[in-house]
């Protein structure tokens, strides 16, 4: 049993590290203030279902995580309860990165929930339209159309980050 526990834990850590970047970014895009709690709760659900989840293919695992995150985000306030555990805050990013992160956050807030997920998957994880469609349960053509629209909106809101001499 000890060996089983240790193997399961190390498999889960690999699974966590492979997916946490996307899940944390999606959680931030939905609710920046609760991003850490949403991420933690999503992976706790994954741990509870890891016996089954670990046998799925990575795209199905990712889709499961995204669905779980969405469900949690919709009722985060109801689920939230006093947490006496002291939390170590994430270290603050260096200032230019913090500025970029804040500008990206503002730009994402101009998009609706689905569109935030689509652009985060596209630009952070470099997933293609088919993969995004599979993860979000959307037709590939819809993903492409949404991306085309969002690209312009993002470029407009992030114009100060455009390369020198370039107009987005």
């Amino acid at each position: 049993m000890r060996f089983y526990q240790r193997d399961a834990m190390s498999d889960f850590e690999a699974f966590y590290r492979a997916n946490v970047r996307l899940i944390y970014a999606l959680a931030r895009a939905r609710n920046a203030a609760e991003a850490e709690d949403l991420t933690q709760e999503t992976f706790l659900r994954a741990w509870q279902h890891f016996g089954r989840l670990s046998r799925a293919e990575p795209p199905a695992q990712r889709a499961w995580l995204v669905r779980t995150l969405r469900n949690l985000a919709t009722d985060v306030w109801r689920r939230q309860r006093a947490d006496p555990v002291w939390r170590e805050p994430l270290p603050e990013p260096e200032s230019d990165r913090a500025d970029l992160r804040a500008d990206l956050q503002h730009a994402l807030e101009t998009l609706d929930g689905h569109d935030r997920e689509i652009v985060t998957m596209r630009y952070l994880e470099e997933m293609n339209s088919r993969e995004i469609g599979e993860a979000l349960g959307l037709p590939e053509g819809t993903v492409r159309r949404r991306l085309a629209e969002c690209r312009g909106v993002l470029a407009q809101h992030l114009s100060q980050w455009a390369p020198k001499g370039e107009t987005p």
């Binding site: 049993m1 000890r2 526990q5 834990m9 850590e13 966590y16 590290r17 946490v20 970047r21 944390y24 970014a25 931030r28 850490e36 991420t39 933690q40 992976f43 706790l44 741990w47 555990v85 939390r87 170590e88 994430l90 270290p91 990013p93 990165r97 970029l100 992160r101 500008d103 990206l104 652009v119 985060t120 596209r122 630009y123 952070l124 470099e126 085309a148 690209r151 993002l154 470029a155 992030l158 980050w161 455009a162 390369p163 370039e166 107009t167 987005p168």
Partner: protein, 94 residues
């Protein structure tokens, strides 16, 4: 900017601004491991102790230790021991 270049530019911004650093990833994992997985780990530790219970009771040869164990576990000599799967209460030398 052409759409292909704009895509590459946006990907660069997202990855510079939103991707977790290794330090951030470690902080999230450590928080998750110590808070969310704390309970299952404690349960696993409890199960490990329980599987060693007969062995631990065999070691309880001194009356004071035995009394403490009996009170702590709420077991009585006799049928309760049998219910716990012991073949005889020689495990507990009262």
């Amino acid at each position: 900017m052409r759409s292909h270049d704009l895509d590459a530019h946006l990907a660069d911004l997202f990855q510079r601004g939103l991707a977790l650093t290794r330090q951030e990833e470690d902080a999230l994992w450590n928080r998750f491991r110590t808070t969310s997985l704390g309970e299952p780990q404690a349960w696993a530790a409890f199960c490990r102790v329980m599987t060693r219970l007969p062995e631990l009771l065999d070691l309880a040869t001194r009356p004071a230790v035995t009394r403490t164990l009996r009170h702590a576990l709420g077991i009585e000599v006799g049928p309760a021991g049998a219910r716990l799967g012991f073949t005889g209460m020689s495990h507990i030398r009262a």
